[in-house]
Amino acid sequence: MPAVTQTREAVEKLGQSTYKWGFETDIEMDMAPKGLNEDIIRLISSRKEEPEWMLEWRLAAYKTWQAMEEPKWAKVAFPPIDYQDAHYYAAPRKKPGPRSLDEVDPELLRTYEKLGIPLHEQALLAGVEVPEGERMPVAVDAVFDSVSVATTFRKTLEEAGVIFCPISEAVREHPDLVRKYLGTVVPAGDNFFSALNSAVFTDGSFVYVPKGVRCPMELSTYFRINAKNTGQFERTLIVVEEGGSVSYLEGCTAPMRDENQLHAAVVELVAMDDASIKYSTVQNWYPGDENGRGGIYNFVTKRGACRGARSKISWTQVETGSAITWKYPSCILQGEGSVGEFYSVAVTNNHQQADTGTKMIHLGRNTRSTIIAKTISAGRSDSTYRGLVRVQPKASGARNFTQCDSLLIGDQCGAHTVPYIESRNMHARIEHEATTSKISEDQLFYCRQRGLSEEDAVGLIVNGFCRDVLKELPMEFAVEAQKLLQISLEGSVG
């Protein structure tokens, strides 16, 4: 299990300092001038060699965005963002499309090596077949700033008929599929940040799983923001046809810097009859220093549509990073008997702010949703769970179960739970449970009496608190996530 070991080792090294992944990579950059206007959008579109319809779509989104205002309802506070003071396009200068490892910029590979991304395993990158009986391989579509640099395991996926590629490539190579689904789950004008993303998105992943195909491996994208002052606007679109299934992993780190970085991604999932999509995120972007300076602003719109009967979409997220998190992975349960799940751990420390949760929109009959949200606040941080469960008139037999647990560490942090429950059907069943607790002195002392250091004790207790969520993560991610939780909370006690 080399990938697991390497990931672990990398994370363990992380534990030796406050944030070790704060390095910059010196790679030649192709960068657009600061600011946002139609010309910049045309530039992005032409650099991506996009068809005309894509440019039109972007420009329409840009017009929509101009008429919108930044939402103010979330329980987060930050100085106004100057959207004209950022670069909207930055691409590592590269030869036309790396075909093998040798063609990938060695500097870039070293960056990944520092990050401990399993990508740097030569065999894996080169697509060497894993002997039978070993663990299921992971395919990585690495996003380095705005351009996907290396995509692995193409061949195995192609044989299965699965498309997994950078979205800009999909726009060129599979225009009909992209055009059919893009913006159908999250319309450009859905919210301020989705409109912005639709206008300027530069990369992200596209996944298409055809009818009856179970994706033969877990698909993984590592995001990383690198260039100074570039916001990153990924766009991810995953479509799974009837009876297909896919598990998608997303994990990220970012280098340390002083200025706030805006990140506004859009993720759209579409599941047809009997299809299932499992989307797992471990988010560890730079949260700012101990005084709250710097750090990523993470304003993300993630939504999945269960279009088909008995389809299933499951979101699992472990959020430990970012200065501000604004994120509500949601499910639109349209197909009869479709299932939506949301498992979340959100950790905030120091001056981090998180306003996160989910929306479960029950449209179809006998639709079911489960929400398990664990919030951990430490330091002077503030964390809010905001969740909507809506049952529409036709959703007879709909069921929801929600459990929100908050864990406080110290006495200067805050945790808030804001559930919105709207039932328009007499035959729906909605349950909501919520608890707030503190790590007790009794628990800490008990662990320490057994020989554990205070920080190990906190890690153990916190991981126990999050167990219901962590067990939903794929094995490799779960190990990383457990370590991350502990690292994120270092120095938060005593």
Partner: protein
């Protein structure tokens, strides 16, 4: 003077509703290696406080006196350092750790003390083998290792779990704070056997109890009676039987 456990003039207080409350008022106690000592005494006499202070609970402020363990200043050590040095406290009310797997907790603890003691850490397989054997010797159901630490355990299960932890952590000095309370006769015997298995010339125990019954299985070397934050009387095993028959009143009256 032995060099094992020496407590001298120990005073400690706790902050209760903004008021300092003196609980230990000059405890003197010496336990040589290889002996089992018992502390008896009425409720509120400071027995549990003494065990917490020795284990390093921060809420208690030591205001005077000393405690040394193997010649080291016990009071200057962190709780986990005391554990690594060989001190174990079986809690009167074991603490629940929701979501924390019992085997995982035990292994983390065992490896933490092994590391601190300069021993090799145990891998999962070796640890589980050892833990299963120890659990079996305490007549614990095999699934106890899989459950969350003390969550949903019955009173008796919790106490056995404490003895299981003690067995695996291999302390040289164990404090058992009313480990016998709430146990039926069979459980009492099993727990006592667990302690007896640890008995060695290098192992000592301090047993806090109200009942003679435990002492039938766990033959003690010395009995101490504690009252109002002090050891007021010490004697041989016969003292426990005397208290069992006559109560504390007579002894309290004698020192008053």
């Amino acid at each position: 003077m032995s060099q094992f456990l020496e407590i001298s003039g120990l005073c400690a207080q706790i902050d209760a509703d903004g008021q300092k409350k003196q609980i230990l008022r000059g405890v003197d106690l010496s336990i040589p290696p290889g002996e089992v000592h018992v502390i008896m005494g009425p409720n509120g006499s400071g027995k549990s406080t003494l065990s917490y202070v020795l284990a390093g609970r921060e809420e208690y402020e030591v205001t005077a006196g000393t405690a040394t363990f193997h010649g080291q200043d016990l009071l200057a050590m962190e709780p986990e350092e005391r554990a690594a040095a060989g001190l174990f406290l079986a809690f009167q009310s074991p603490i629940e750790l929701p979501g924390v797997n019992n085997a995982n907790f035990l292994r983390t603890a065992v490896n933490a003390v092994r590391r601190a003691r300069g021993q090799d850490e145990l891998d999962a397989v070796a640890f589980l083998k050892m833990a299963r054997e120890a659990a079996k010797a305490l007549s614990m159901a095999p699934d106890m290792l899989k459950r969350n630490v003390n969550v949903g355990f019955s009173g008796g299960e919790k106490k056995r779990n404490e003895v299981l932890q003690m067995t695996l952590l291999q302390p040289t000095f164990a404090i058992l704070d009313e480990t016998d309370s709430g146990l039926d006769v069979d459980a009492l015997r099993i727990v006592a056997e667990g302690v007896n298995r640890l008995r060695a010339p290098t192992f000592s125990a301090l047993v806090i109890t109200h009942h003679q019954k435990l002492l039938d299985y766990l033959v003690p070397d010395r009995i101490h009676v504690m009252a109002r934050g002090r050891i007021i009387l010490s004697g041989g095993p016969e003292l426990a039987r005397q208290i069992d028959q006559e109560g504390y009143t007579k002894f309290l009256a004698e020192v008053a």
